[in-house]
Amino acid sequence: MQQVLNGLTLGSIYGLVALGLTLVYGILHVPNFAHGALYMVGAYVSYVIMVDFGANYWLAMLGAAGAVALLAVLCERLVFNPLRDAPPIHDKIAAIGIMLFLEALVQMHWGAEFRRMPTPYTGIVEFAGLTLPAQRILIIVGAFSLMAVLHLFLKKTLTGSTIVAMAQNREGAFLVGIDANRVAMMTFAISGVLAAVGATLFAPINLVYPAMGHLLIMKAFVIIILGGMGSIPGAIVGGLIIGFAEAFGGFYISTDYKDIIAFALLVVILSIKPTGLFTKGVR
């Protein structure tokens, strides 16, 4: 039962990060390798706001979300927009360039050491014989409510539906007068917000360091391959699958190899079924 909780916690964070990635992929067909770096910057911004300015946890989350959204939009404007017509290999290399730059910058400014992020929610909730750390509950509730808000935004608002429209059919979206630049910037901003919130939620039970985004971004990529690139429910379901696989695998098999499980799962699934679990048209 404890493992179910762990799996749910991991899964919801993976889902959040994968959601940002999948949104950007759906619109621009750019696999944004810099997404993990955005996540890492988000964690640092909220760390700074909380520790150096002594602000409240929620305020820090808000600040981080704003800062990372701005950074993501900047990346879109300066890098991905000029590369719109370039061969796909260029987008990937540029994204890697951004990632390396952000990581080196953070490392230069804050050093490579591990930092612990404080949180106001340190309590433990006892429920039906289970010990539930408050922060984990916060992660699960926070992540799923953010997913719900995003879902409502995409389905119920006009701005949201322009994003969906563009993901579905680019030319069609242009025909009905959707501004591609605006949608691209907005998508990047949303992915930045998702990454920053995910980082602020997850960092207190993990640690903050420059390479913290590496593993996460790779797992997020595994998730969106499993769930289908550009598919929103796929990202959430995929996140939960990987989260549970890691929680149970780490418990029953070996904690040493816990991080390999996601990748091994990917290799096994793609060897048997190269189109992914829920995808259409990987090949």
Partner: protein, 354 residues
């Protein structure tokens, strides 16, 4: 034709090869200290790996992000066989190449069923699995401690490769062989098939090119290059750790490749040497080099996607085309004036007759 053009023409002549090889042979005599020779030898070793990357990424167009992992596989195969099992260096060296090819084949058969982004992401994961295995599988790889006291390449009693200068020449020989092989591949039917695949999968398939077989072959070639380079690296540095499999090395190699010119023959060498020496002269940047290289990568793909060598070739190609055009025009106008001249006497003659 000005001096710049003459120099650029010289770069394309076969004599340039001899000049470059001579320069490389003489380098240890002009180098001011042993460290410079060491850096150069290390750059040659990396260049071999970058040539491998050029085959799968530059020629065949598949961004392979597991390249650093295969470099580490070569290094670890050599280290484990020589240190733990007492193999002779050169047998272990051959085994390292075979291990790179075999594992590359296995990884390639699975990963090349995927296209473009999926392939890049998948290989990123493969690279990470290699890293984690090296880091965690302590019985085999000594885990985070790494492997120390790796023997240097044996010189059969003739040369001592623990010295820097002999190793420099060894690395040079291997690098020249690698470039020669890469050139042979690039200009063969195989290389042309790879390029057709880069331009379009469908087009290549419709020309009767077996996509899977060619892609796997390109991948195996590239991983073999990487693991041979890794084995040489282990023989040179003589201690290795899990950090060799770090994805940062893959990104370094992408930088080398991109600066030099992706898909060109001399690009990998030029990029590797240029960036290695740039990093050396900016020693203080060692740890933070990515602050410079990150934006450099972005600027390169936006403005100079073909790298230094590629940009040079494009520039030269344009100039030659322009020169050809003016030459054609000139000869055309000459012909015109000639026909005019030819006509005039006849007119005069006609006039005389008239």
């Amino acid at each position: 034709m000005n001096a710049l053009h003459k120099i650029s023409d010289f770069f394309m002549t076969p004599a340039m090869k001899i000049v470059m090889i001579l320069a490389a042979l003489l380098f240890p005599f002009v180098a001011s200290n042993e460290y410079q020779i060491y850096v150069m030898a290390l750059a040659f070793v990396w260049a071999i790996a970058v040539y491998g990357m050029n085959i799968i990424t530059g020629l065949c167009g598949q961004l392979n992000l597991a390249h650093g992992g295969f470099f580490a596989i070569g290094a670890y195969t050599l280290a484990i066989l020589t240190v733990d099992h007492g193999w002779a260096f050169w047998w272990a060296f051959v085994a390292a190449g075979i291990a790179g090819a075999l594992l590359g084949f296995l990884a390639g058969v699975v990963s090349l069923r995927l296209k473009e982004h999926y392939f890049a992401i998948f290989t990123l994961c493969v690279g990470f699995i290699i890293y984690l295995l090296i880091d965690k599988w302590e019985e085999l790889t000594h885990g985070a401690l790494g492997i120390i006291n790796i023997p240097a390449p044996s010189g059969f009693g003739l040369v001592d490769f623990t010295e820097t200068t002999p190793f420099y020449y060894l690395a040079l020989v291997f690098m020249v062989l690698s470039i020669w092989l890469a050139a042979r591949i690039a200009n063969s039917l195989l290389g042309r098939s790879f390029r057709a695949i880069r331009i379009s999968d469908e087009l290549a398939a419709s020309l009767g090119i077996n996509l899977m077989r060619n892609k796997v072959l390109a991948f195996v070639l590239s991983t073999t290059y990487a693991s041979v380079a890794g084995a040489l690296y282990a023989g040179m540095v003589r201690f290795i750790g899990p950090a060799e499999a770090d994805v940062v090395h893959t990104f370094d190699m992408i930088t080398f490749l991109l600066v030099g010119g992706i898909g060109t023959l001399m690009g990998p060498l030029f990029g590797t040497l240029a960036i290695t020496w740039l990093t050396q002269s900016l020693q203080f940047l060692e740890e933070y080099r990515m602050i410079v290289f990150g934006p450099l990568l972005v600027v390169l793909v936006i403005f100079f996607p073909r790298g230094v060598v590629g940009t040079f070739l494009t520039w030269r190609g344009r100039r030659l085309a322009a020169a050809h055009e003016t030459a054609q025009k000139e000869s055309a106008s000459e012909k015109k004036s000639q026909t005019k001249k030819a006509v005039t006497p006849r007119n005069q003659e006609a006039g005389n007759h008239a």
